[in-house]
Structure formats: C-alpha cells, structure tokens
C-alpha cells in the first residue's frame, strides 16, 4: 500500500534528522569532512520527507479514500487542484506541510556556502532537532497516514465549499513558508551563541534569509485578507480574529527583526535586540501554530483539536523557547557592543522603533489572551475585537510613522542635530496638511483620529516622493527598498483610513427587473438563472450596474447549494474601479418573492493590498541586491 510507503519514508526521515543532530553533537564541526557528512545526512532526510509528501499528494489526487484524512477532507467530485490543496485544509495534513517546509528551508540553507563551518553545522543540527520534535508530534498525535482499512469508503466527505478557492488554497503555503523560514535566523543565531566568537557577523549571513521569510509572511497575510474580502461576503478585510492576530504578531516581530538586522549587520550595535528578536519571531510563529491547533481559541479558522495536542505543542515550544532564552542570557556578553549607539543616529531611531513594535505585539497578545484570563478569573466570557485593536494600533502607528519621518535624515553612526532638508520636510508637511484637511471637508465623516492617520499616510507617501525627486536631481543615493517599504506603509495607513471614511452599504428588497439607485449608481436586477455544476447547484442573479460616470458593467452574485454537505453559500460579485469596489451579494428570497440584495461600496480597498505588495517588493529588492553583491 502506497500510504504505508509514505508513512515509512516519513519515519525514516525522522530517524535521519535525528542522526543529523547526533552527528552535529559528536563530530568536530570544524572539519570539512564532518560538514560533508552532516550535509549529506540532512539532505537525504529531506529528500525522504519530500518523497513521502509527494506520494501523499498522489494519494490525494487519485482519491485514495482508504486514508482516513483524505476521506475526511476530499471528494472525487472535487477538481484535482482542490484535491491536492485539501491536504492542508485541516490539522494533520497542514502539519505535514509545515514540517516539509521547515526541512525545505533547512535544505536550501544547507546548500549555501558558508565559511563558518562550525556555526553552520550547529545551525543545521538545531534545525534538525526542531524538525524531529514536530515529526514526532505528527506521527504520534496527528498521524495523517491512518487508514480506514479493512473498509474503504466509496467516496470522501466534501470539504467546506468555502475552502474551494484558489486564493485560500495558496494562502496557507505562503504563510507557512513565512513562519517556518524564521527557523534559519533562529538556529543560526543560537549556533552563533554556542560557538562563542563575537567577531562573526551572523547577522549578515541570515539577512537575506530573514527578509525572504518576511516576504512570504507578508504575502500570506495579504492573501488571507484579500480572500476574506471577496469570499465571506461582508466586505471586511481584517477582523482581528485571534487567528489573524497570531499571524500578525510574528509579522510585527519579523519587521522589527529585519530592521534590527540591517543595523547589526552594518555596525556592531543592537546585537542584543537582534538576537532576542530572532528568538521572539520564531517563538511567535510556533505560538501561532499552538493557538490554532490547541482548540483554545474560538475562531472559524482554528482546527478542531483537543487540549492534549495543545499540551504537547505547548511543552515542546516551551522547551525550544526556554533553552534558547537560557543560551541567550548565559552568552549575553558576546552580544554587548563596545560602541554605544549615538543619540539620534539611525541606529537609535531603529531601536526606538523596536519599542513601538514591541507595544503592538504586547497589545495583540493581550487582546488574544484577555478573554481567556477573564474566563479563568471571573467565570464569564467576554470578547475583544476591533475597537480595542484600533484604539491601540492607530495612535502607535501614527507615533511610529512620525518618528520614521524624522528619522529619514538620520545618519548611520552619528547623530544629527538639525534637520538638514528643511525645505523638503516643510513642503511635505504642507502638502499633507492640505490633503488631509481637504479630505476632511470633502467627506465630513468619521472621527478626528482617522484624519490624523490619513495625514500621516499622506505624509509618508509625499515625503518619500519628494525625497525621490530631489535625490534624483541631485544625483544622490536613494535607498529604494526603504523608500518603497515605507511608502507602502503610508499607502496602508491612508487606504485603511480612506476606506473607513468613504465606504458604505445598504440592503435592498428587489424583484427581478427592479432598478434601484444608490449614491449615484444605478443597479438593475436584470435576470435570475439556475445553473447546475459538478458539485453544486446555483441561483445566479444578473445585475447591471451603471456608475456615476456612465460606465456600465454586469455583476453575477450567486447562491449556491453544495450536494455532499447540503451547505448553502453566497458568492459575491465585485466590480473594481480605480477608486472603489462595487460589491453585491444576494440574500434570501422573501415570502413575497422579492430578493434581499446587499450593495456595498468599498473605497480604496485595493490599495490596502497594493501596500502589502509594495512591502513585499521592497524585500525582494533587498534579497536580489544582496545576492548580486555576493556573486
């Protein structure tokens, strides 16, 4: 049976990873031949795991329902693409993918040439041990290889129709690649501590690896937000759901980390922060896995799991975290720098920045755990949602952005006393103020803090644009990635604010052939069709929408009924224009045969995701330029 082969390969790879870490312990890691041995052991372990997963993919694609997990999450009526992606739609399979990616990062990193053989081997050893821990977790508590034999169901249970979506299918892989990618700086940083030579610039080695992982995490979170927007039907793009928050925390820590890395790799300062952050980022990734899989948090995202698995993960993560923290505190002196950071230098601004990120992480952690604390203390349930997170994120982001603007002219290694480019800053401030105030008078809707945020968003965009223009004309150096990323931040702040200010919605009662007008847009209910598909039936409405500038388009919202589970879903229809999205969903049909039609106008929402893309691109620039400078 193929599933047994897959299982066997996984077990074999576990023993090989264990062997790798043993080799690291017993061999002299300085020697080249030890290095070759360790490298080979790790590579072979990875290849075995890869084939194990590949066979599993084959089993899913060919409807092998004798495998319990595949029978629970896939169905022969699914398109092949979704049969494969159903592997990571629940706990056991997604854990398998997680482990595959963990070892894949290790494998690629292993191929890298590194003059520091000892540190590299230690790092591989640490990665191996972590992989073994997760593999044992998988094989013992969450075995994806269990079979239904001697019975084999004729067909599987259908997966939740809401999961049959391309964006949702690739959202977990991107996210996982991001989360587990941080094992590289984590392991390498610890290996550096173990090795004990303060002269080694480990930060420079891990920089492009960390930025790559950060890029994946950014895109993964962006995909999740975009998917939620067009699929879930209520027009929101971020809900502050606990599981969204546990993805956000590692991202915040990772952003702080890559900033610290740029400092530490250039000058030898901020090393303590940087190493601590590498531990924090990876720990938060693991913490996220724990929260989602332990069943502790109520969320539509969480995998249905038992506290026992949660306990295993908690203890495992505890061991990783506390042993790395112990190493960190005991080798503290390795990290202290001789040179103090000058006040108002770029380094000092970046360390101030770390405080802002720290506060956001703290607040998010507080928001996630407070309902649990409250329940334990007062035996009552409360919820923590958008109002709390907005109240914290808005002022902190505004403050951090202002500090960022001030820091633009700061220099590496020396303080600035006076803001040199007075003209540029003045011009930016003036333009942004004009923009923000015009916005206020035009919209006349929303609280003051939103307009302050919009002002800061404008300021970030305009300041960097002006910097770009001036520096191009004066033929001065421009740090493109920093500019792009921070403009991305400005874009994010501005579009979130504008979306909040301008968006609106209304629910209508419409009969076929009705025409309604909403905010200068005409919406006519042109047709109602009945469509049969392979795994669902659908009622599809046709709406003709004529925008205020006269352009007309057709929108096709649907109500679908899926056969296997009898689930009814609503498919949204969206018309994207440069300024806004026209977003229609149909609700129930009332007794009088009219339909409930929900029309939303979501302004500037595409720019939220554009900002994520800008940030991801800025990371790509860093990775490419560092690759170029190496070769």
């Amino acid at each position: 049976m193929l599933v047994d082969l897959s299982h066997f390969l996984s077990v074999l790879s576990t023993t090989l990873f264990l062997l790798t870490s043993t080799l690291v312990l017993v061999l002299d890691c300085n020697k080249k031949h030890s290095s070759i041995l360790i490298k080979r052991a790790f590579s072979h372990a990875f290849i075995l795991l890869f084939f194990s997963f590949a066979i599993y993919v084959y089993l899913a694609a060919t409807d092998d329902f004798s495998v319990v997990y595949i029978s629970q999450h896939s169905n022969s009526m699914l398109p092949t693409f979704y049969k494969v992606t159903s592997i990571w739609s629940a706990h056991e399979g997604s854990m398998f993918l997680w482990i595959l990616f963990l070892s894949a990062w290790g494998f690629v990193f292993n191929l890298n040439k590194d003059s520091n053989l000892k540190i590299k081997n230690f790092a591989i050893g640490i990665v191996s041990i972590i992989i073994v821990g997760f593999q044992l977790f998988l094989l013992i508590t969450s075995n994806p290889f269990e079979t239904n034999l001697p019975f084999s169901p004729a067909n599987g249970a259908d997966i939740n129709p809401v999961l049959q979506d391309p964006a949702l299918a690739i959202h977990p892989p991107f996210l996982y690649l991001g989360y587990v990618g941080f094992v590289i700086p984590f392991a390498y940083g610890l290996a550096f501590l173990l090795n004990g030579n303060a002269g080694i610039n480990w930060e420079k080695v891990v920089r492009s690896w960390s930025v790559s992982a950060w890029i994946f995490l950014t895109i993964g979170i962006c995909l999740g937000s975009w998917w939620a927007y067009y699929e879930l039907g209520w027009g929101g793009y971020w809900f502050w759901d606990p599981v969204e928050n546990v993805a956000l925390m590692p991202w915040l820590a990772a952003t702080a980390f890559v900033h610290s890395l740029s400092v530490a790799s250039k000058s030898k300062s901020l090393r303590i922060w940087t190493l601590l952050l590498s531990i924090i980022v990876f720990s938060l990734s693991l913490f996220g896995a724990f929260i989602v899989r332990s069943g502790i948090i109520d969320s539509i995202h969480s995998f249905a799991n038992d506290p026992q698995r949660g306990m295993y993960l908690l203890v495992f993560i505890g061991i990783i975290l506390f042993s790395s923290l112990w190493l960190f505190t005991s080798r503290f002196d390795l990290l202290t720098s001789k040179t103090k950071i000058k006040s108002f230098s770029k380094e000092s601004f970046i360390s101030l920045n770390n405080i802002f990120f720290g506060v956001l992480i703290f607040a998010t952690m507080m928001g996630i755990t407070y309902p649990l604390i409250y329940e334990l203390a007062y035996d009552q349930k409360i919820s923590v949602g958008a109002p709390f997170y907005n109240a914290i994120y808005a002022p902190v982001t505004v403050l951090a952005s202002i500090i960022l603007i001030i820091s633009i002219e700061s220099k590496w290694g020396r303080s600035f006393k006076k803001i040199q480019k007075f003209n540029q800053l003045n011009l930016s401030l003036a333009l942004s103020l004009v923009a923000a105030i015009s916005l206020y008078f035009y919209a006349n809707n929303g609280s003051v803090i939103i307009y302050i945020s919009a002002f800061v968003g404008f300021l970030l965009l305009i300041r960097y644009l002006i910097l770009l223009v001036f520096n191009t004309f004066q033929k001065k150096h421009i740090n493109i990635s920093s500019m792009l990323a921070h403009m991305g931040l400005g874009m994010l702040i501005l579009s979130v604010s504008a979306n909040s200010i301008f968006s609106s919605e209304r629910v209508f009662n419409m009969y076929p052939n009705d025409i309604k007008t909403y905010r200068n847009i005409s919406i006519s209910f042109d047709d109602l069709q009945l469509i049969n598909n392979s795994n669902h039936d659908s009622i599809r409405a046709v709406f003709k929408v004529v925008d205020s500038n006269g352009k007309s388009s057709l929108l096709y919202p649907e109500k679908r009924k899926y056969f296997v589970r009898g689930q009814i879903t609503s498919e949204t229809a969206i018309k994207a224009t440069p300024l806004k999205d026209i977003y229609i969903t149909i609700g129930d049909q009332l007794d009088n045969k009219s339909w409930v039609v929900n029309v939303q106008l979501n302004y500037f929402i595409r720019y939220v995701w554009l900002s994520a893309i800008m940030m991801a691109l800025s990371g790509l620039i860093i990775v490419i330029s560092s690759y170029r400078s190496k070769s």
Partner: protein, 174 residues
Amino acid sequence: MKQILKILVFLVPFCIFAFFYTYLSKDNSYPGADYRVFEIPSFALTELYTETELSNEDLSGNFLINVWASWCITCRVEHGFLEKLSNNGIRIVGLNYKDERSDAIDWLKKYRDPYELVIHDFNGSLALDMGVTGAPETFLISNGKVIAHYRGEVNQMIWEDVFIRVIKDSEIIL
C-alpha cells in the same frame, strides 16, 4: 539594566506559558450552560392547539421551558429524554420556535406530547427576548425567573450535571 533584562526575558514568557498550561488543564465544563438569572420577559402569544392567548401570568411555579421545532432534527433525539422527565412528574412547557402551527401539531401527534402546554412563537420574538439562538434549548424556571439555560440537547448526563445541580443549590422542588 542587564540583570533586569535577563530576568524579564525569562519572566514574561514564563507567565504566558504558565497561564496557557493552567488554562489547558482546566476542566471545561459545559460550554452550552448559562447560569445567569433573569426574569421571563413579558410576552403575548398563543397556545399551540387551542390558539388561546398566553402571557407571563399563565406561567407559575417551577418548570422547564423547552425550545423545539418540527424542523429541528436534534429535538427528535432529545424527545425521548423529555418524555422520561415528564413521566417523572416534571412540568415542561414547550416553546415552539419558528414553526408552522400545523407542522408542530403533527409532529407532537407523531412523537407524543411531553408538554404541559405549548407556546406558539412563530416569529421567535419571545425566544429572541430570552436569548435563544436555535433549537433545542432548555430553561429552568423558578418563580418567574430563569435560573439555568442550556443550549443544546439535554440528556441524562447534562440533566444531572447542569440542571440537578442548580435544583439542589436553589432547593426548589420541580
């Protein structure tokens, strides 16, 4: 300064871990149970069979209110246990939730009627006022007040762990 950082670096994660460990080890008693006490909201509905008007004044003493409907599959499962309670002399008032009168009457004919009387709440207005999210749900009433509310099917285990406990604690006689 360094000493403080070193201590903090261990203390903060330790607190978080200790908390989650405690939380995971805690025995999670029934999430569907709610013990908040509140007055039965005033209502003006009709009886299921006779269509006579009913209001709060028609309900007195200690009894259960069971929210059910003919479209609710779990209610069929729960029905056998309700019959047993009713046979043991426990008064159960039915709250027929978002159901056609004829469907409900047919259902009771088919499966037998364990209820002392049945309130027909076609729009679910009383149900909404009582915090009902679906069927089946069961309320324990004493002197015009709700003293226990369970969301979900009541069986022997839940009856003992949730309701009997409250009955004993408040020393009422059902």
